[in-house]
């Protein structure tokens, strides 16, 4: 029991699950075989998550506090504040168990699966962040767990694979296609389509068919619920701006949710600009992951949303220096809020993100995830446009990224990289 218990657990807005539509976005574009599972999940979501049946939400709150380490602090960033002459506050999701915001959702869903009487957890993972969070949650709740992961990703992310395995999860290599996240998603859908009656598929961001985008957002909305009361306690007021990096958008919507109805709070979703914002149609590659900034409407992985596609509707391969942002789609709710001008989509390129990584490490003693670093890249470039008080979500810690950060830093001529010659040849 952390001292968090003294904070009232208000829970998500106990309204409706909604119909899964955010304007025209969202929906449930999935094979018929999965429909009943989604309806069952929607029902469970309404009963347990929204209406706290059998004390689900209370149990979730207690577990995410005691096992996960909530509430996470909102820290005044002295050195950045001085640098920018702006009050910069950091929401420290990097301190959550597992090292990123991911656990909020993974724990919520695994617990929900338990309430639903499911016997088995499946999930897919690309870089391994969602996979490790799910494996931890499954171990904590004593649920068998299988994680699908592309064969190529498995070789690139061995430490995360190892973490999942020692947490007792089975990591199932996916050998079809190019052996990356896309194929792992297909394979997990396939497993789920075969085993829906006993398995729950833990989707890792606010993407996929209804009710996933809404439900995943509710689990992560603890972030903005806490920020709201923390910043008010500290400054007596709401912030002028809130920044969060956006891949699928789970930490983004988690950070924004409780501010959406406050028009005075600007919301910035910082995407990965990669090496360029253009799409190479010939190669089927977009060297970025900026689907909010540059994507077009389409249907991917069960939802209508903004995505990176070529002129014919084939999904292109996205790219980012941060593997956790490297996804061609984005949550439908976020796509909608961008269309409504409520959320401002912005992006910074790989170089700016790496400089953000080094800046936060050197000046604040916090090594951020490369995903998170994008938000700090944006802050550096636009600090004079964000008002007097800005909250940045530190969505994860960078320990998982040390090797990548080294390699990418060595290849570039960054303004603020430390001397790295000792590390020639990798970590």
């Amino acid at each position: 029991m952390s001292d968090a218990e003294q904070t009232p657990t208000t829970g998500p807005d106990r309204t409706q699950a909604g119909d899964g539509k955010f304007g025209d976005y969202g929906g449930r574009y999935v094979p018929e075989a999965l429909m009943p599972a989604l309806r069952e999940l929607e029902d469970a979501y309404e009963r347990y998550v929204l209406n706290n049946q059998d004390g689900f939400w209370d149990e979730f709150r207690e577990r995410i506090d005691d096992f996960g380490g909530r509430p996470t602090p909102l820290q005044y960033a002295e050195n950045l504040s001085a640098r920018y002459d702006t009050n910069v506050y950091l929401k420290r999701e990097d301190l959550l168990h597992g090292g990123a915001h991911k656990l909020n959702n993974a724990l919520g869903q695994v617990l929900l699966a338990k309430y639903m009487g499911k016997e088995r957890i499946i999930a897919e993972t690309g870089a391994g962040q969602h996979g490790t969070a799910t494996a931890m949650a499954a171990a904590h709740l004593d649920m068998p767990c299988e994680i699908y992961m592309g064969e190529r990703d498995i070789t690139r992310q061995r430490p995360n694979v190892f973490r999942m395995k020692i947490n007792g999860a089975d990591v199932v290599p996916v050998t079809t296609g190019r052996g990356t996240l896309k194929e792992a998603i297909s394979e997990t859908m396939r497993d789920w389509a075969t085993t829906v009656e006993t398995s729950h598929y833990v989707i890792g961001s606010i993407v996929g068919p209804h009710p996933f985008p809404t439900m995943v957002r509710d689990f992560h909305a603890l972030i903005s619920e806490e920020i709201r009361s923390q910043i008010q306690r500290e400054t007596g007021d709401l912030p002028d701006a809130v920044l969060a990096c956006a891949g699928g958008g789970s930490n983004t919507m988690g950070t924004f949710h409780h501010f959406v109805d406050d028009p005075g709070v600007e919301l910035y979703a910082v995407e990965a600009g990669g090496s360029s914002l253009a799409v190479d149609e010939e190669e089927g590659v977009a060297p970025n992951s900026a689907s909010l900034s540059t994507g077009t409407e389409g249907v991917l992985h069960g939802a209508r949303t903004k995505l990176l596609q070529d002129g014919e509707g084939q999904i292109v391969e996205s790219h980012s220096v941060s593997s956790g942002l490297d996804y061609a789609g984005v949550g439908p709710e976020l796509a909608h809020l961008v269309d409504e001008d409520r959320v401002t989509p912005v992006n910074v390129d790989d170089d700016a993100a790496l400089e953000g990584f080094h800046r936060l490490s050197q000046r604040e003693g916090i090594i951020p995830a490369l995903e998170t670093a994008h938000a700090f890249g944006y802050l550096e470039e636009h600090h004079d446009e964000v008002g007097e008080t800005v909250v940045v979500n530190v969505s994860g810690r960078g320990d998982k990224d040390l090797a990548a950060a080294l390699e990418e830093t060595e290849e570039r001529d960054l303004a603020n990289a430390p001397e790295m010659s000792t590390f020639a040849g990798g970590l």
Partner: protein, 282 residues
């Protein structure tokens, strides 16, 4: 009038599937024509999409080969036009490709441009596994306009109250999934088939059963259990894959395809014969 309904309504229809452009445009043309030669009553032509979430590994790999060989929606329509077969053709693909195709005229709604082009190319209908009935109205409207069918997939898990909606929105035939899961041949084909068909008996629409059928015997069993037709994909794609990997002669592969097609078709007939006397005996 529905060409698809007519094609499947005979009681022992054989509806094979191949991914178009696998492993190349020309080979694929030959293979699809062999299906017709082997006795197909209608053919499902897979238009490759980069994220085929409803497919098993066999068809997923076929789609990757076809994409790598340059298949696109436009090439797909040319393919249909180049084809020399006289059975109805169904386009099987994912909604995003329908949705993105072509330019919209004033007041026009997606996916009308795709449907218009498909009709012009000579296709008779669509199967879109990731398009739920709830979102199917615009496609349905365009199908009606161009006299095309929209085939719905019914899963073993589909609840009864949902069946009505699926039947409502669809035409041509119902694609009845024999078992849970995705396309593939690893599980006993007649699983739950009888049960599923029972639930559908009240609906006056032909039912073609797919998923897991890979031999004349299984085909016979499924038809005997009450299906109006069988849908076979992975077993045929396997022949294409093996031919490609072993660099076999196109004609030899086409022969094998035709011969499996014939086996499946006669299995279906056999099943029909087995069922009809029994039906008469009741």
């Amino acid at each position: 009038m529905s060409r698809l309904r007519d094609a499947v309504d005979g009681g022992s229809a054989f509806v094979p599937y191949l991914a178009v452009g696998d492993p190349s445009y020309d080979e694929s043309l030959r293979y699809v024509e062999s299906l017709a030669a082997g006795g197909a009553d209608a053919i499902e032509l897979g238009l490759p999409f980069s994220e085929p979430i409803a497919e098993g590994p066999t068809i997923q790999e076929a789609i990757v080969r076809a994409l790598d060989a340059g298949m696109t929606p436009e090439r797909f329509f040319e393919f249909v036009e180049d084809l020399d077969v006289d059975v109805p053709l169904v386009c099987m693909t994912y909604y995003n490709l329908l949705y993105q195709y072509g330019e919209l005229d004033d007041g026009e709604q997606r996916p009308r441009p795709f449907v218009e082009r498909a009709a012009e190319a000579g296709l008779s209908g669509f199967v879109v596994p990731d398009l739920p009935a709830e979102e199917a109205a615009p496609l349905r409207a365009a199908c009606d306009e161009f006299d095309m069918d929209l085939v719905s997939i019914v899963a073993p898990t589909t609840e009864d109250e949902r069946l009505e909606r699926l039947v409502d929105v669809s035409s041509g035939y119902l694609y009845v999934q024999a078992r849970l899961g995705v396309t593939g041949t690893d599980v006993e084909a007649a699983d739950r088939t009888a049960e599923s068909l029972d639930r559908l008996a009240a609906y006056d629409v032909p039912k073609a059963v797919g998923f897991g059928i890979d031999s004349g015997e299984k085909a016979a069993d499924v038809i005997e259990a009450g299906a109006d037709g069988i849908i076979v994909g992975s077993a045929l794609v396997d022949i294409v894959a093996e031919g490609h990997e072993q660099d076999r002669d196109t004609e030899a592969v086409a022969d094998d395809i035709r011969s499996l097609a014939s086996e499946l078709k006669s299995g279906a007939r056999r099943g029909h014969e087995r069922r009809v006397p029994r039906a008469e005996g009741q």
